[in-house]
Amino acid sequence: MGSAGATLPWELRISAVAREGTSRVELSDRGAQSNPETGIPEDAALATACRAGDLHAFERLYRLQGARMKNLARNLLGTTSDAEDAVQETFLKVQRSIASFRGQSSFVTWMFRILVNTCHDLRRRRMRRKEVVPEEREEGARPAEPRAPGGHPSLKLALNRAIAQLTRHQRDVFLLYEVEGFRHAEIAEMLEISESASKNTLFQAKRNLRQVLEAPRSSQAGGA
């Protein structure tokens, strides 16, 4: 990836949406704030109902987590279509293996671990079949995805390209923490790493992203 593909320096473009004091790192209790719907009682009740084969429980789970699952899958796989396939496959895997869930982690964390693995499996499968086109072409050929209201298209594109340059673990941790709002403890369970490894990986991911996103400005400055 040669440049972030944006004409404006990334910091100028995001400065309009950057909210002071909202950095996730600053908030020690942000887990409770970010996931008010996934409290333990609901989580355990959902797990029990899903284990009993209750389809309404799966629907409730989808209503609570489906959008977030699809968003994570889309950021990992690149397209909404693949993301929906991954979410469906994850629900089927949860139904198949719910008997093996013993509650060591939260049910939602366990499900997101399945989702992340499913996304990586899908990605690998596509790579094997050579269905994946190079990133540059894929970005260019990708049909316009529905965006969040107020989103900046070129910033999103630049960020997507920068994230694509991260290692797999850095990408997972960055998306789970910064985009989906999981805590390091939850991410550690999902990715089967330690909490400090999750913090370290996020730190490295943000440093790398900064380098990639700052590159155009540096090259512009050098060229001037």
Binding site: W10, E11, I14, S15, V17, A18, R19, E20, T22, S23, R24, V25, E26, L27, S28, G53, L55, F58, E59, Y62, G66, A67, R68, K70, N71, R74, N75, T80, E84, V87, Q88, F91, L92, Q95, R96, A99, E145, P146, R147, A148, G151, H152, L155, K156, L159, N160, I163, F174, L175, E178, V179, E180, S196, K199, N200, F203, K206, L209, R210
Partner: protein
């Protein structure tokens, strides 16, 4: 807490809320740290651009159909092993008890089958059969010898002082039989499972018994 430029990276990595406040206070008077903190926070803010939680109305019906199909297939195609999967959720004590009971049942069944239809019943050359039959033969033989010894004791007065040539002849015959019996018993002691020796010994005892009966008949 006194925060300096040196603390910046550590706070980015794993700083507490208190440390972040200290860093921001320091950044107010440090242009380099101010720039770094702003860029660091800007990344988190930029990440929000990747958050798009719009509904896909067709997705849940699709997933629900797939889940229902899978549940149906699972019920239809459940193997007996899968049906036993509920034991995996049972407490360890119950699992151990079930395993123990199954092991005991298998051991008892195996033992029963071995005794009922195993080699002990059907194979005539089995060592178990030999030992048991030999013991039975020897027990019968001892009883038989005891009975004959009783006859010999009754006939002893006539044989010790033979009153007639016939009685003397019986006496000689009995001495010969006793001699043959002693020899056969010695051979049988060396080869206890030799059935031929046992038959010969039996024939000698029968001969002795008949002779003693004749002696007692002559007395009457």
């Amino acid at each position: 807490m006194q925060i300096t430029c040196k603390d910046r990276e550590r706070i980015f990595l794993d700083g507490s809320a208190h440390e972040w406040r200290g860093l921001e206070f320091h950044a107010a008077s440090c242009a380099e740290c101010a720039e770094e903190v702003r860029a660091w926070k800007a990344l988190s803010a930029a990440a929000e651009e990747l958050r798009d939680y719009q509904e896909s109305p067709a997705l849940w019906p699709r997933i629900a159909t797939a889940l229902a199909q899978q549940a149906e297939q699972s019920v239809m195609g459940k193997s007996w092993l899968e049906r036993l999967a509920f034991w995996r959720r049972a407490p360890m004590v119950w699992q151990a008890a079930l395993a123990g009971a199954l092991a005991l049942l298998m051991a008892v069944t195996a033992g029963y089958l071995y005794l009922q239809s195993g080699p002990g019943k059907g194979d005539p050359n089995s060592p178990l059969l030999k030992d048991r039959t030999l013991a039975q033969v020897e027990r019968s033989e001892r009883d038989y010898v005891k009975a004959i010894d009783k006859l010999a004791a009754e006939a002893k007065p006539q044989l010790d002082l033979p009153a007639s040539p016939l009685m003397a002849s019986y006496n000689e015959k009995l001495i010969m039989l006793d001699s043959a019996i002693d020899e056969l018993r010695m051979q049988a002691g060396q080869n206890p499972s030799n059935a031929h020796l046992r038959y010969q010994l039996l024939a000698m005892y029968q001969g002795k018994k008949v002779t003693l009966q004749d002696v007692l008949e002559t007395k009457r």
